[in-house]
Structure formats: C-alpha cells, structure tokens
C-alpha cells in the first residue's frame, strides 16, 4: 500500500468568535489515484473540510484541533509562501460555479496562463501550446477560440471544462472538486463526471469530490465519506456504503436521489 496523499486526522474547525464547531473530529485519507467523495447536505462541513486541505479557510474560521498531513508532511508547519507553491502546483481546485470562479475581465486563456506563469518556467509559446493541449484534453472544441474568449461568452458546460483545464494546468497530484456539477444540467453532470474519470486515469490524479449527490458520485468514487453537521456519520468503500447503508442519514440521501 503506497502512502496516502492526504491524511486528515481528527480535524475540527470552529468559528473564531463563538467557538461553534463547523467540522468535528473528521478523519480520512486519500490514496494516490483514488477518488474520495465527501457527501452531505448543506452546512455539513464538507466544503470547509476540502478547503482546509489548502489552508484556505475563511478568516472567521480556524482549525481548533487535529492535523492534515500532505504526503506525510504536516500542513500546519508550512509557511504561507510554501502553501502558495503547493496551491495550483500540487493541489488544484474546481469550483461549483465557474462563472464566478473566473475573473470576468480577463480571457480564459489569460487566466489559465496565469497559473503556468506562476508555477512553471515555460516560455510564452510553450505555455500557449500547453493550454491549447489542455483544452483538447478536457474536450473543449475549437481551443484557439476558447483561449481568446471571456468567461461570459462560454456556455456553462464549457466553462466548467475550462475550469477543470485550469485546475490541472500545472500537473497537480490532487484535485479538490467542490460540487463541480451542481450548476449544470443532468446530462452535462454525467459528462463532467466522465471527464473526471478519464483524467484520473490519464493524469494519475487523486480527486477529492465534494458533493451532495450520492447517486452521482457512486460511479466515480472509490470511497465515500458521508458528513452531517460537521461529523462523519458513515465512511467506507463506495459499494459498501451504497449497497448496505448503515445510517438513516445515508439512506435518506440515497432516497433523495431515487425520487429525482
């Protein structure tokens, strides 16, 4: 068994002012080239858990106990500039709504170029080639046009693909996908999940998939961690959890999908 990429140990996050716990005693580990799904309803702390891997919690929150090991190193010991090297370069993030996650005043190509400029020593031409190749990889048609487009000029699905291209631009080992399909319609959701599946084997990626939709993640994930109100209620191999859910909450989540 190779060493896990990320190990979260007894992580607790609280609101600085009130001391209210947002995340309580969460533990899990992400194996290389595996997909971990963090599933739960709104406010279950799944996004907060995902963001704490990048040490990008909102300023109102803080980690109150527990630790996160990244490739065996304790993240809390890393300086901010060390974290800036890791963000984007080793851990990429895909957001829920790419319309807001792209800056509206710059072109898509320019914004992906920004990542490469910061994390690599490649020249202008090399970077552009790489970006066009990335567009190809994530299944965007007419890469040259996408490169020159502003975010509002693309459709939702194309924007999400562009967002994924940005996340994988600097060849990270881990992708944190925060509800990557929630803003898309059902047919597109399946295609994006398929794309993740594809990229994972092509690029040897590990993925942390944050979602509220158990039905969607079951095709992609190796392990599922079900969260409710900041606590892990159930965790295990995806098949086990889906087929033999132990907890009421997990069953509810599964039912919600069936109704849909």
């Amino acid at each position: 068994m190779p060493n896990p990429i990320v190990t979260v140990q007894n992580l607790s996050v609280e609101v600085k002012q009130t001391g209210a716990k947002i995340v309580r005693n969460v533990s899990f580990s992400v194996e290389p080239e595996s997909v971990t799904a963090l599933v739960g309803g709104s406010g279950s702390g799944k996004t907060t858990t995902g963001m704490s891997i990048l040490k990008l919690l909102s300023p109102a929150l803080k980690v109150s106990s527990g630790q996160i090991l990244y490739k065996g190193f304790n993240l809390s010991a890393f300086s901010e500039s060390k974290m800036q090297e890791i963000r984007g370069r080793e851990i990429g993030v895909v957001f829920q709504e790419p319309l807001y996650a792209f800056n509206p005043v710059f072109t898509i190509g320019d914004q992906i170029d920004e990542v490469l400029r910061f994390h690599t020593q490649q020249g202008v031409i090399q970077r552009k080639e790489k970006i066009l190749h990335l567009f190809d990889l994530v299944g965007l048609p007419d890469p040259a046009r996408i490169y020159m487009s502003y975010p509002h000029q693309l459709s939702g699905g194309m924007r999400q693909r562009a967002m994924i291209a940005q996340a994988i631009a600097a060849d990270p080992d881990l992708i944190i996908a925060d509800e990557p399909t929630s803003s898309l319609d059902v047919t597109l959701q399946a295609k994006i999940i398929e794309l993740f599946h594809d990229l994972r084997s092509k690029l040897k990626l590990s993925i942390v998939l944050v979602s509220h939709d158990l039905g969607l993640v079951k095709h992609l994930s190796d392990q599922v961690i079900v969260m409710k109100q900041g606590e892990v209620v159930e965790a295990g191999k995806t098949n086990t959890v889906i087929e033999k859910p132990q907890e009421e909450y997990t069953k509810d989540l599964l039912k919600a999908v069936e109704v849909k």
Partner: protein, 368 residues
C-alpha cells in the same frame, strides 16, 4: 451566453458611448490639441521661453498688416516698434513705419533642441530678424507671451498627468491592500489616510513646499512640486478603493486565484484593482484639474515654478496687481488657458462617468 460576437469589455463599451457625446469629444480634442502644442512648444513658438528684449517690456500684441502702404494685399508683415513715455511715465508703443518685417514659415530664430534631442534653430513661424512679433503681447521683461504660454503648457499640463499617476498608483495600492487584508491592517492604514485628509490641502502643500531646499534647480523644484501635489490627493482615493476592495475580495474568483497559488499582491493587482477601473478612470479625469490649479496656486504666490521657467501659474504672477491688468490686459491670457483646460477635463470626466454608469444608460444623451 456562448455567442460569437466580438468581445467587448466594459471599458470598450464605455468609450464607444463616449464617442456619441459631441461635447465630450469636442472637449477631448481641445485637450489633445493643448497637449500636442505643449509637446512641440519649442518648435511652434517663435521664441524660446527666456528670449527677452528689455526695451519691449509690456509691448502690446503686434498688429499684423495684410495691406501695404498703398492698400494692396501683400504677404503679412509687422512693423518694428519703439516707445515714448506719456505724462504718467507709462510706455506708449508706436509702430516704426519704415521697419517692415515679413512673416515666414520655418524661420531661423533662437537655438533649441527639438524634442530635447535634435539641435536646431528653425521655428514654425516668425518674422525676419531683428523684428519681433508678439501675438499676445509681451511680459514685463519683453518676452513673447505666446511662446511662454506654450512653454508653460509643458509644465502645467504635465504636472497634472504625472501628479495623478503618482497619487493614483499610491491610492490604488494602499486602498487595495487595506481593503483586501481588512482587520487591523485596514484600521492602521485608514487612520493614516485620515491623518492626511485632516490637514487642509493648501496648507499641507505650503508646509511641504517649505521643506524643499533652496538649492534645488528648476527641474528639481518641478519634481518636488509634482510629489507635493500628489501627496494631497491619494488619501481620499485610497478610502474609496478600499471600500471597493472589501466587496471585491468576497468574490469567488479571488478565492479561486488563491487556490491557484497566487500571491496576495498579485491577487490585488490582477483580480481586485482592474474592477475599480471604471471608477478610477473617471476619478483620474476629474482630479487632474486639481493638480493644474494646485500648481497654478503655488506658482502664483511665487512658491512654485521659478522664473524664467514658465508655467501658467507663474505667468499670472504679473496679473496680481490690478493696475497691470488695466494697462496690459493680455497678461490674463494664461488664466484663460487654465480655465479652458480645467473645464475640458471636467466635461470629459463627467461624460465618461455617464458612460461608465450603467444606471444612467439611456437617460443622458451620453448613450443616445
């Protein structure tokens, strides 16, 4: 969504709307003309700023003659001038009819360096030596006011631009940093800004000016004045930019930029400040007149640009005595230039604001 239309961002749209406003375009072209003449001042003006003929003190604007003594049309010319004193010991200039000096283009005159590089002695127009033409009269030392206004435009117009670029760089950065970090950093920076805003601008200007050593040469004084002027405007701007940055830092693309590993300064410059551009452009346009007037005020009371270097402000120093204005009204002309420039900048700024403000779209003629 997903259309193929030519991409136009907000700035491009606003400038397209600007073109629709005739008055705005008119004022902008006046400004362009003024800046053009300032750049080529040494070529366009018939004399250099310090070329003086003491016997022509306060010579009135030259009469340009188009007809010769027999009433026939000829190439324009001026007469030489001489003066006598009247009973109040005031100089009365009369034309010397037997000294005729014809106008010419590209005439030889004072030596200068064209654009500061190419040494030459050709001027766009002038009259044959030793005659002198005073389009807008002469000042107390017999220097051509028209030439001095053109040279003065260099100082007065550039001070606005350089001053504004210094204070805006400062204001944008300080405001951006303050708003982006928030919390204690924000409090400390904002209290600092308030310290600057607390002191009335003109007195702060005088106090800073008194700190400039006497040994400075005219160029150093010019730089010192630019820096002094830009020290006054930045704090107010920083406060507004800070307010915008506070709201902009909540945007998801700022978080996204963080997840890409960008440094804070890069995020401020790339992902926060560009969104304040529509406000900043208007604010820049509307604040340039302040710098021009500030320089004029300093120079007028003798603390700004020093003679013989000309600026619109110190050209007006002569006009401080009411008697001079009565006897030589042309010395007020630099004041009209200040007036026109300030009006034009204000109009252009106003029209730009209408163009940038989506709420006003369709109301004003700006977007008609």
């Amino acid at each position: 969504m997903g259309n193929n239309s030519k991409s136009k961002n907000q700035t491009a749209l606003a400038f397209a709307a600007f073109k629709q406003n005739k008055f705005g375009v008119f004022c902008l072209s006046i400004l362009c003309l003024l800046y053009f003449t300032a750049v080529f001042a040494d070529f366009i003006s018939p004399y250099t700023y310090d070329s003086e003929v003491r016997s022509h003190s306060y010579a009135p604007p030259s009469k340009i003659h188009f007809k010769d003594a027999y009433g026939n049309l000829t190439w324009p010319y001026v007469y030489g001038i001489s003066f006598t004193f009247d009973e109040y010991h005031k100089r009365v200039y009369t034309e010397v009819v037997n000294e005729k000096y014809h106008f010419g283009f590209f005439v030889k005159g004072d030596k200068y360096k064209f654009l500061g590089i190419i040494p030459t002695d050709r001027h766009l127009f002038g009259v044959e030596a030793p005659g002198r033409v005073y389009l807008w009269g002469a000042d107390s030392r017999g220097r051509d006011l028209f030439s001095r206004i053109l040279y003065g435009a260099r100082v007065s117009l550039s001070i606005g631009l350089i001053g504004v670029s210094i204070s805006f760089t400062l204001g944008l950065l300080v405001g951006g940093i303050s708003g982006y970090y928030g919390g204690r950093v924000d409090s400390i920076i904002m209290r600092g800004c308030e310290m600057f805003m607390m002191i009335p601008g003109f007195y702060l200007m005088l106090a800073l000016r008194s700190a400039v050593p006497d040994s400075f040469n005219s160029f150093q004084i010019y730089l010192a004045i630019v820096v002094i002027l830009s020290f006054i405007g930045w704090a107010g701007l920083a406060r507004i930019i800070r307010g915008m940055a506070i709201s902009l830092r909540q945007r998801e693309y700022v978080l996204a930029a963080k997840t890409l590993g960008l440094s804070d300064l890069k995020i401020i410059i790339r992902h926060i400040l560009p969104h304040t551009l529509s406000y900043s452009i208007v604010a820049i346009m509307l604040s340039i007149p302040g710098y021009i007037l500030g320089e004029a005020a300093l120079s007028l009371i003798g603390l700004g640009i020093q003679d013989p270097i000309a600026s619109w402000g110190n050209l007006l120093t002569d006009a401080m005595a009411i008697a001079h204005i009565k006897l030589h009204p042309w010395i007020l002309i630099p004041g009209f230039f200040i007036f026109i420039t300030v009006i034009c900048f204000n109009v252009v700024g106003d029209v730009l604001r209408d163009c940038f403000d989506p709420l006003l779209k369709g109301e004003g003629e700006a977007n008609a």
